[in-house]
């Protein structure tokens, strides 16, 4: 595996996703990679019915910069879609990410097993390396 140049981190504001973001930012800072913070918008959030505050760009980029990553190397991206599908798409086409980083469990997910697991889905289907960070 070559050294990643663009790392995409799945971020939904949950504690696990913050841990994933922090890890991704530290790695990006260490190896000189760019970091793309990707938030997938679900059905309810799209309609403003999620009952939760949507993740905020400033809060996310602050996490990345606090570990020493240059703000110029950080990109915030919001896409409608199921998280695994959105992150898979980040690995396709021009300017594709060559490393995906996700937390073990996102916001709103249940507490055990593999039901609804984005990280498991990506680990099985992504065509680039995937790092799953425990919160």
């Amino acid at each position: 595996m070559s050294v990643p140049r663009l790392i995409a981190v799945g971020y939904d504001g949950s504690a696990d996703s913050v841990a994933a973001l922090r890890w991704g930012a530290e790695i990006a800072s260490t190896i000189g990679a760019r970091l793309r913070i990707v938030h997938a918008v679900g059905l309810l959030e799209h309609a403003g019915l999620s009952g939760r505050c949507s993740p905020h760009e400033q809060a996310a980029t602050d996490v990345a910069c606090r570990v020493g990553l240059d703000i110029a190397q950080v990109e915030w991206r919001v896409r409608d879609g199921e998280p695994a599908a959105v992150l898979r798409r980040e690995t396709l086409g021009d300017d594709a990410a060559d490393l995906l980083v996700v937390g073990t469990r996102g916001a709103g997910a249940h507490g055990g097993g593999t039901l609804g697991s984005t990280s498991l889905d990506l680990a099985q289907t992504a065509t680039v390396p995937v790092v799953v960070v425990a919160g």
Binding site: L43, A47, G81, L115
Partner: protein, 368 residues
Amino acid sequence: MTTVVLAGPAGESAHDGGPHPESPARVVAAMKGVHDLHLGSDLVTVDVGPASREDLARVHSLRYLDELEAFSGRGGGALDPDTFVTSDSWDAACRAAGAGLAAVAELERRRDGVGFVAARPPGHHAVRSRGMGFCLLNNVAVTAASLVAGGARVAIVDWDVHHGNGTQEIFWDEPAVLYISTHQSPLYPGTGRPDEIGGARARGKTVNIPLPPGATGDVVSLAFSEVVAPAVDSFVPDWILVSCGFDAHRADPLAELALSSADFAALAATVQQLAPCGGRTVLFLEGGYDLQAVRRSTASTIGALVGDRTFPEDPTFGGPGADAVRAATMLRERALSEVDKECSGGGSLDAPHTGSRGAPTTRLRSDW
């Protein structure tokens, strides 16, 4: 007059997540739409039983079925930020998955009529190994897989506003199933690009026509006349199943297409013209979260199938998307021809994802 075989209601009181748009009231609204037509003896209601484990296992992994049943048995919770499970969700989902089978059995017995499945939770987002997007078990896929197991060829037409990623994934490499979707893009679940055309054994059997927000009924009808009808015609199905979401209605709170109930009637009429002899058409309620729109759209859609042309709303025209239909057609044709070229020239395709049993992302090595 055409007989309507009604499988349902199912889910009209169970699987209740409280203040959530995917609510039991949706099935109640659909049933009101059916009864608004006053079909009398032309409406035949069939009992709905749960799909068997054998039926479910054709489209879902045993591990997922076990986990979902156990999770529901423990009282449930959130499957993801959109999707809830309650203590009675497993039973409700099994009944919803069985409803299409009941409709098919009755249509086969009668050799006439059209089926309507008024059941929830909806199904078309559920992939082989996961539920998502309000969906637990893939109802239309369970019925299609049962028909395929019996030797039939099945066309699934999905006009829900969201792409049916689950149905696409399940039949990605199944040559006996044609899956066609019109859907808003960008929107959840983020799949359904025109260059997603099917797996190696079923190249061209997946057809996607993404439409921009604001697209009106004339645009979706254009997609049906230019893409859906020719694709179904050349496939020559034994059955047509429709993932009949009503969330492309302009009043729906979850999306931004701009159809009216009369537009769904036009789509249904097109499907009816494509239907094999002796009926063999079943419509499955998928999405649709404005209750009045669901009621009106159900009445218009079924009304069109039985010859009732009294629509409470006018058809819609003038929205964006005609160019998108043509672009989708061109992208798909380009993808198919490049696949042919690469295969004959020894080139390679990106390997399809297989971890979730063939995730539908095989595409050419290009930037689109």
